[in-house]
Amino acid sequence: MNVAAGTVPLVPARSRVGMNAWALLVPAILVYAVLFVWPLLGSFWTSLTPEGSLSLKSYQDFFVDEFNRSVLWRSIRISLLTTVMTLIIGYPVAVYLSQGWRKGRTLVVFMVIAPMFVSAVVRSYGWIIILGPNGILSMALAKLGLPPTAGRLLYTETGVVVALTHVFLPFMVIALTGSLQQIDPALARAARNLGANGLEVFLRVTFPLTLPGVTSGAIIVFCLAASGFVTPALIGGAAVPVMPYLVYKEGLLVLNWSFASAVAVILLVATALITGVYTLLAGHRSGRRAGA
C-alpha cells in the first residue's frame, strides 16, 4: 500500500468516529427508553394519581401502615444479608479461581455458574425439596439428633436468604475474581518478604486492593436481591412478604395499581439511596488514594 493512502486518512477517520460515537448508542438508548424509562415514568405517574388527580395518598398509605414498613425493612435486611453471605462464601472461591494454574479450575467455574443455567422456578422448587418440612435438610439434621424443626427453613426469612445467596453467588464470584486477578502477585511476595504472615498479607494488601471488586459485586447482588420476585415468592411466600411480592399482590390481586406503583417507586428509591451512599463511601476512600 502506498504511504499516503495508508496514513493520511487516519486522523480524519478518528475524529469522524468521535463525532458519530453517539450513533453507536442509539439502539441501546431506544430499547432503554421504550422498555425502561417510559414504563418507569408511567409507574411514577400512576403512583402520584391514585384517584385521577395528583396526590401523595398512595405513599401516605404505605408509610402509615406498620405492615408495609416491615416489608420494606425485610427487603432491605434480606438483601443486605444475601450480599454479606455471597461475599463471605464467594471470596474464597474467587481466590481459588484467580490462581489460574489450579487443577480443576474449569469444574469450579462451571459449578459457580451452574445456578444461572436453571430457571428460577425450577431452582426454587429444588430448594423447596431441600428446605421443606420433610425435606432433606430436616431429615439430615434429625439424624444428627437435632429437633425436627431445626431444618425447616421453608417459608422463613433464613430460607429466602439461603436460596438468594445460591442464585446470586456467581455475580459476586465473577466480580471478585476479576479484581483479584488484577493484583500483581509480586505484591503478596513483597509483603511476605517484609515479614507479613499469610493473614497479614490478606488483611493489609490483598483485601484492600479488591475493595473495588467488593463494591461492584455488593451493588450487583444487593440490587438483584432487593428486586428478586420468584425466589422469595416461592420460598418465603405470604409468610415472608418482600417488596416485589407486595407489588405483585397489590397490582395483580388487589388491583390497586397506584399503591403497587408507589411500592415499586419506594423500593427503587431505597435501593438507589443505599447503593448511592455505599458508592460514595467507597469512592471517598479510593478518591483519597488517588488525590493528594
Binding site: A186, R189, L194, G195, A196, P208
Partner: protein, 369 residues
Amino acid sequence: MKPHLEISGVTKFYDAFRAVDDVSFAASPGEIVALLGPSGCGKTTLLNVIAGFLKIDAGAISVDGRDLSRVPPHRRDMGMVFQNYALFPHMTVEKNVAFGLKMRGVSRKEIGQRTQEALEMVQLGHVGQRYPKELSGGQQQRVALARALVVRPSVLLLDEPLSNLDALLRKTMREEMRQILKKAGITTILVTHDQEEALVTADSIILMTAGRVEQMATPSELYERPRTVFCARFMDVTNLFEGRVVGKEAGFSVVDTPLGRLQAEGCLSEVGQAVTIAIRPENLSVAANDGENRVRGVIVRESYHGAVRRLDVEVGGCMIVAHVPVRRCVKGVGEELELSWPADRTRILPDEAGERSSAPSSPRAVAAE
C-alpha cells in the same frame, strides 16, 4: 573472611525441568554478588529460592551458619527489591517504607524516625505523603530500595532492579545504588541480564547458564579471563576461532588457527589439543607492532559507534572484528590493513563442547554446532 550467605548444592525442579542445578557459592559480609545470565538461565529462580518463595529440592541455604532452607519467607529476614518494584499501590510512600517495621512490631515513634531516615538516604525525604503511582520510575525504584533496607535485613535481594528504567537513568542509578549498598554495608545478591550493570555494581559475578554456574569471578577477571566459550560470548568477545595447540614459545602456547599461527595464553597447553581462541575486539590494534600476534586482511564493513569504529576485517576467509579508537584508523572499506595484538590478550578456552580435546569429530561436538 567467614561467609555470610552460603548456598550449597541448591537444586530446584519445575516438574522435570532442572531450573537450578546444583549451585553453590558464598558471599562474605557486605559483598555484592551479581547473578548474571541470559533469560531462562535460572538466576531469578535462584533468587526466589533464596527469598523462600520457592521450595528447594536439594541443597541448603544458610546465613551466618543458620540453615534457612525450611524457614518461611516472612521469617528469613531478607529484603527484596522486585523487578517492577511491587510497591503497595494503596499505601503512601511512607506507609510502604514503614510496612516491614510495622510487621516487626517496632514502636510507632521509631517507625516514623527510621522511615524518614530511609527515605532521606535515597533522597526522597519530601515525597512520603505521595502514592507510588505519582512518582517517576527512578523514584519508585529508590522507594523500593528504601523499603527493603529500612528493616536492616541480613541479606538484600535485587531482582533486575534497574531493568524498567531508561538507559540514561539506569547508568546513574547503578552507581548510586552501589554507593547506597556499600554505605549500608549489606550483603547483596543482584540478579541481572545486563553484563555492564553487573560489572559496575558487583564485587563478584556468577555467570549462569542452563541452571548451572558457568563461572564465578571478580568483574575484571570475568571480563578479561572468561573461562568458557559461553562466558566469552556473553561478555561480548566477538572473535572466537577454533584452533589446535602445536607448541610453546616464550611462555605462551602456539596455536594454529584459520587466521594463522598465534601465540596465546590459558591453562590448556597440551600439544595436539583442540581449543577455541578468544580475542576481544578492543584489544586489536591497527598499528603494525602492538603485540606478538599479527594478521593482514581487507576491511569489508565499517560502522561508527561513537567512541570506537567497528571494522569487520576478512583474514584468510575468516571474519575478525576490531574496535578501534575513531581517530586511529583512516582506512575505509576495501582497503588492506594490518592488525596486531598481544599474546596475553589472546585467551585459550576449552572447545565449545568442553571435552573435544582428543576426538575432534565426537558426536557431542557436532551437536553443539
